[in-house]
Symmetry: C2
């Protein structure tokens, strides 16, 4: 299940990352870019991204993330679902726990899309 979510998300991000200031964006490109920004438009999700990136080996499970944010596991899982859906985070199930890492490729595309033309 996590795999299909990730693939959809990557498709979305590929389509979305037209440069913001490289010409008038088509409606679909503007919607997809806005969708990725929406996933990052919450302080808890921004902090989750920075926490995962700073974790040992660049990966973390939900069990590592609840205490630093002072949030419940269901709340963290909800935020993670939105980040995975936007292609910003990759999820891998290993036994009981799901492990998350930042999708550097998406961040790189997004940075290039935002950079002034």
């Amino acid at each position: 299940m996590s795999r299909s979510v990730t693939l959809e998300a990557v498709d979305g991000v590929e389509a979305c990352c037209s440069p913001l200031t490289g010409g008038i964006l088509a409606d679909a490109a503007a919607e997809q870019l806005a969708g990725v920004f929406k996933a990052m438009a919450d302080p808890a999700r921004v902090k989750l991204l920075s926490l995962i990136a700073a974790s040992e080996g660049g990966e973390a499970c939900v069990c590592d993330l609840t205490a630093p944010l002072g949030l419940s596991q269901p709340t963290v899982s909800h935020h993670m679902k939105l980040l995975v859906g936007a292609g910003l985070i990759e999820r891998e199930q290993r036994g009981k726990w799901a492990y998350y890492r930042v999708n550097d490729d998406t961040l790189d595309r997004l940075a290039r899309a935002v950079a002034p033309g």
Copy 2:
């Protein structure tokens, strides 16, 4: 008035642009970064940014922006206020009209903050 709004916004952006994946973000930095993403988390505002950047001389007045988006002037003005507040757009009043241009410095800071560490 537009000047004080712009200055506040630039302060916010300066504080916010800690790298997303360069260490665990403090709460205040995460909030400010999320605030900038929130301003971009709407397809109409993403499209406004691209329209202004693509305008002749890199600037546009509200009168240039209503028709391409099919939105009323009050609605466009509302979106512009949020973009100016986030430091993404600069506003200059000249006579009857306000003119807007993209703040390349903010986009550059944001792109560097988003780029993988």
